[in-house]
Amino acid sequence: MRFALSEDQRALRDGVRELLAGECPPALVRAAWTDPAAAARSLWAKLTALGIAGAAVPTARGGLGLAACDVVPLLEEAGRAAVPLPILETAFVAAPLLAQDAGATPALERLLAGELLVACALDGATGVPYGAIADLVLVSAGAADGLAVHVLDAGSACRPERSIDHARAVARLLTPPSVDRRPLALTHGERVAAWHRGVVGCAAELVGLGRTLLARTAAYVKERHQFGVPVGSFQAVKHHLADGLLALEFAAPAVLRAAWSIDRGCASVGRDAAMAKALASEAAERVARIALQCHGAIAYTTEYDLHLFAKRVWASSRTWGSAEWQRGRVAVALGLQLD
């Protein structure tokens, strides 16, 4: 038994954290609000140079061949920096699927070269995150039953929509799509595995977002003075922040365990992924509320950076299954509810 990242995993994570600290500051996230495509392309080129695009692709197909336990910590870093890119969808969900289907080799090659971003249309395509800047859209048929049966050309299949988080470049899938659907040749198991990767990866991003929101809030309440003292010296404020840390510290291990279950093909992987997402969504939502409250009015502006992270939480906590929906999956796994 050993429940911690290995030295290699930590080194990889720290490398990505360092790169994103330099290349994806809040100013870049803010720039993505006005020109999401330009911000995404420049950042994606730098991440691709590190091999991130092919992180989860087998080495035989030109990727790094990393396991979920290696990649999930990187997605937490992507969340921490509020990366305005479909890293999860492109590198963790789509890339391994494209690598399974020989007919998708040209797309895979473009993806590995950093020339292809992928969005996922999950639930009737009311909103497709990053659909407005992606090149391809994977369309799912029934979430829990697995993902990604069809690939669409994003340009002709999507119409941009306005998200609360402009950096998400959300689009609406046109119905019926004006282009032909091309099914990927995948087994049921591969589709289900892709769904689990999406769920766990999104949970990791939410934990990362929560960590940034909490760290920024802890720093702010140390500096902000009212009544002649730092507001962080008041117990009411301390207890809010303590609750935020509690929520994150008990969600993060569940996310890492779900990654392990993916790698090992554990029978409990569906339950573990669902539990991770439920905890991560709730933790991130909770921390976002705490962050807003403990900052006070300054956080209720768009001039201050906090909203970039908080809105990402509000935009993404219900994708890949809301907390309630995921608890329903756990209820099924525990025999409390029929599927």
Binding site: F3, R264, L279, L336
Partner: protein, 377 residues
């Protein structure tokens, strides 16, 4: 990362499970009554005879030299088997880690084997009428006896099972000029010593589980001090770390309660509303989350780290989880919940969790100040 147990660890689990299945007693009275306490002590002696009382201790003290992982496994199996609460816990889980850390070899040899064998039964003398959350307000005092040793005077209260135990560990002020956490010393006292009066009283659940302990000029020898004169605060912090964290409340206890909750829900069938089902699932998820958190924590300890202020995260989480687990079960039981049954008993016990071992308000202060760096008040 490796979330599997080795073959040796699995064999350890099988061995523990078999023994517990064959030996766990049923129908004991509450360990917080005189009669029930005696029954529980009998059980503790059987555990000791089979070397299951203190698995992580060295063999020479009655343990098995088990790793922390094996200890976790034993705890899981213990609660899964429905075995009784450990009335020796304040000794084996709270005092013992401190004796291992601060005791002299002579103290360890004198104290630990008798504690493991349930010959000496230890209670914790922390709280005083004027010192609850504010432990540094301890007013009980100790003065040097010119003829040797020390003389203790003061009052301890809310002492769990104090009326049934044989020994007490507690803090006493040895420097009368000192204030707060300076000038305190950690003493070990036999409750049959001259000058000790113990008065039991009822806890919330109606059992005589609490006691007041009055000390009037009680003589103890020099070797009744653990860790040095004036070092009491530092030594006590080692005990509170154990109390808040892993050793007192291992995940097995909550996982077992969560499993029982699921069984209760399954037995109720269609009576379970969607809202209640969601609360059951949340409670189960949280018990599992506590288990995963502790696996990470034990990995850190195995790597030579120390949980430190992180044990406050454990404390808040398990104590509030315990209440949610039991409150959810009571709602499942509906109107029948008021009967004096195991879930209601468990609920009343769980309500103490956010109070003892430092209230959760104090724990949240610690989390904010030590883990997030917020300014001290």
């Amino acid at each position: 990362m490796d979330l599997t147990y080795t073959e040796t660890e699995q064999a350890f689990r099988t061995q523990a499970r078999k023994w517990l299945q064959a030996n766990v007693p049923r129908g004991l009275r509450s360990g917080d009554t005189a009669e029930g306490f005696a029954q529980h002590v009998e059980w503790e002696k059987r555990l000791f005879d089979a070397r299951w009382a203190v698995v992580s201790w060295p063999e020479r003290y009655g343990g098995r030299d088990a790793s922390l992982w094996e200890w976790l496994i034993f705890e899981e199996e213990y609660y899964r088997a429905g075995a009784p609460p450990r009335v020796t816990q304040n000794g084996i889980f709270l005092l013992a880690p401190t004796v291992f850390e601060y005791g002299t070899p002579q103290q360890q040899d004198a104290i630990l084997p008798r504690m493991a064998a349930a010959e000496d039964l230890w209670c914790q003398g922390w709280s005083e009428p004027g010192a609850g959350s504010d432990l540094a307000a301890t007013a009980s005092r100790a003065v040097r006896d010119p003829a040797g040793g020390w003389r203790l005077t003061g009052q301890k209260t809310w002492t769990t099972r104090g009326a049934f135990c044989t020994h007490l560990f507690g803090l006493f002020r040895t420097d009368p000029a000192s204030e707060r956490h300076r000038g305190l010393t950690y003493f070990l006292v036999a409750l049959d010593a001259d000058g000790v009066t113990v008065r039991g009283f009822e806890r919330l659940d109606g059992d005589e589980g609490f006691a007041e302990v009055f000390l009037e000029d009680v003589h103890v020898a020099d070797d009744a001090i653990l860790g040095g004169v004036g070092e009491g605060w530092r030594v006590a912090m080692s005990t509170t770390g154990s109390e808040r964290g892993l050793t007192l409340r291992s995940p097995g206890r909550f996982m077992s309660a969560a499993e029982r909750l699921i069984e209760l829900a399954q037995a109720r069938g269609s009576d379970v509303t969607p809202l209640l089902r969601d609360r059951i699932v949340q409670a189960w998820i949280d018990a599992e989350a506590y288990q995963l958190f502790t696996l990470g924590q034990v990995t850190k300890i195995a790597d030579g780290g120390s949980p430190g202020a992180e044990s406050s995260l454990n404390k808040v989480f398990w104590s509030e989880l315990d209440i949610r687990l039991h409150a959810t079960a009571l709602d499942l039981l509906g109107a029948g919940a008021e009967l004096d049954g195991p879930w209601m008993r468990g609920f009343l016990f769980a309500l103490a969790g956010p109070i003892y071992a430092g209230t959760n308000e104090i724990q949240r202060n610690i989390i904010a100040e030590r883990l997030l760096g917020l300014p001290r008040t």
